[in-house]
């Protein structure tokens, strides 16, 4: 993902969530977001059957 896309995602996402961010935090947030999205895309790249459902803990 291009750096400017990540920057835009961080700016928009933290504003929407109401998370104040100091400018000096941004490089580390961006580096971590890049790792998280890269790993999420690795999972996303695996073709799961539609029937694959999560394992809930909630017991009524």
């Amino acid at each position: 993902m291009a750096d400017d896309s990540l920057d835009q995602m961080i700016a928009a996402g933290t504003a929407l969530l109401g998370i104040p961010v100091q400018p000096e935090w941004l490089p580390a947030i961006r580096a971590n977001l890049e790792v998280s999205l890269t790993l999420a895309q690795l999972v996303d790249g695996f073709a799961l059957p539609d029937e694959a459902e999560p394992t809930p803990v909630y017991v009524p």
Binding site: G18, V21, W25, A31, S36, L39, V43, D44, L48, T55
Partner: protein, 446 residues
């Protein structure tokens, strides 16, 4: 030796060594003395000995101790009211005769593999004080590895019991997800959090595990299964067990010393079958995604109001986690079920699997990069590459410490069982200990 004499000796050893190891954040000396005196009095009055009679123990400071705020390694939680009662596992250990002596250092909010903490300082490795204890249960590893206490509790979301066991050279048990109650502990990732014990030998590990089992309505994930007590069967050996060694993903990146240790353990157990877990790298990736996003959800309000009070290394990962799209998180959860089913099929052919606990021995304090198979990678994110695909689906694991001849530092091997079969993994650990292969090395102390 009376319980009180044992506690006094323990408190003296803590006073001597903890200024260097930095394992403890609170010492409950008066409580411990009072409890030990009670034990001695009731024993003198004819009570039968308890399984953990007079055994000192300490707990990671995310576990509630009545009268203390539950820090979870953070600055922010210092503002919380003191816990009004002990966590379930403390109550159960004390009912079995153990004596709580304090709370232990940890990585902030358990989002850590190093044992470093910007608020309390790093827990130090008992075998080389310039090295990491591992995290996030760093104080637990340092306290048991440094022989300050024979027993400690920690938590393991992605490897936080197994990593300190590896770096500090002690036995650790991450039980099946849901086996031990988490009631009265500060959470991190609800669908991945486990509590479990550390000890210097398998008998103590198993005795503590047996004392802590049982249903608990205070933890929604805690099983209603009857306790499966393991203590009486520890000496049954490994005859008839089918043991496989994980290859592929679980060898990639490990140092030669780690692989030699794994091979030594495999040979000692007669394990020759090499197996691979399908899509282990994706499992680790999915665990990472679920961790950073569930963790972000837990801490969202604190990120909004107390961002500057976090450890920056934790805060910046949590903020990033808050931004991962929900659809990708849902896919990670769906993948989890698929992977779980695949791995259970592997267990149709074997009773136990072996894998390294960490890709290396304890890194230096302050180290930020790791050499993983010749590639420099961020250390914090990669220490748990071999533990995450296992805890992701809640499998029980015993981490057994091994120090090869000529090696200066220990490293642990994971003995992994099918769900609810801690007994088999503990039997194999006891076999390795009896054979002299696995042991907790004595810390060097001037």
């Amino acid at each position: 030796m009376s319980a009180l004499a044992r506690i006094e000796a323990t408190l003296a050893r803590i006073a001597e060594r903890d200024p260097v190891l930095n394992a403890f954040t609170a010492i409950t000396a008066e409580r411990a003395r009072a409890r030990a005196a009670e034990l001695d009095a009731s024993r003198a009055a004819g009570r039968a000995a308890l399984p953990l009679e007079g055994m000192p123990f300490a707990v990671k400071n995310l576990i509630d101790i009545a009268g203390l705020p539950t820090l979870a390694g953070s600055k922010i939680n210092r503002d919380r009211a003191a816990a009004t009662q002990d966590a379930t596992l403390i109550t159960r250990l004390e009912a079995a005769g153990a004596v709580l002596v304090g709370a232990l250092n940890m990585g902030e909010y358990a989002y850590d593999f190093t044992g470093e903490n910007v608020h309390d300082g790093a827990s130090r490795n008992p075998h080389d004080h310039s090295r990491m204890a591992g995290g996030s249960s760093g104080g637990s590893g340092s306290a048991v590895g440094g022989d300050l206490v024979p027993l400690a509790l920690g938590s393991d979301t992605n490897g936080s019991i197994r990593v300190p066991s590896s770096f500090c050279g002690i036995f650790g048990l991450k039980p099946t997800y849901g086996r031990l109650s988490r009631a009265g502990s500060f959470p991190f990732v609800a669908s991945l959090d486990h509590l479990g014990p550390f000890a210097r030998n398998v008998a103590d590990l198993a005795a503590a595990y047996d004392a802590m089992q049982g249903a608990d309505a205070g933890d929604a994930a805690c099983t209603d299964r009857a306790p499966d007590l393991v203590g009486a069967d520890l000496g049954k050996g490994i005859a008839g067990l089918k043991i496989g060694v994980l290859g592929g993903y679980f060898r990639d990146g490990a140092t030669a010393a780690v692989l030699a240790t794994l091979d030594h353990v495999a040979q000692s157990l007669g394990a020759t079958q090499r197996l691979e877990l399908p899509e282990a790298a994706r499992a680790r990736a999915a665990a990472y995604v679920i961790t950073c996003t569930e963790g972000a959800a837990l801490h969202l309000d604190r990120l909004r109001t107390r961002g500057a009070d976090f450890d920056p290394a934790v805060r910046d990962r949590l903020i990033a986690g808050a931004l991962v799209p929900a659809a990708l998180v849902a896919k990670a959860q769906n993948f989890r079920r698929w992977y779980h089913d695949q791995v259970l099929r592997v267990f149709e052919g074997v009773d136990l699997l072996l894998a390294p606990a960490t890709p290396c021995t304890a890194p230096m304090l302050g180290q930020t990069e790791l050499d993983l198979g010749g590639k420099k990678v961020p250390l914090r994110a990669n220490i748990g590459i071999y533990t995450q695909p296992i805890s992701f689906i809640g499998l029980p694991v015993v981490a057994v410490p091994v120090t090869l001849p000529g090696a200066s530092l220990p490293v642990a091997v994971q003995i992994i069982a099918a769900p609810w079969h801690e007994d088999v993994a503990l039997r194999a650990a006891a076999y390795l200990e009896a054979a002299g292969v696995a042991r907790a090395p004595q810390p060097r102390w001037p």
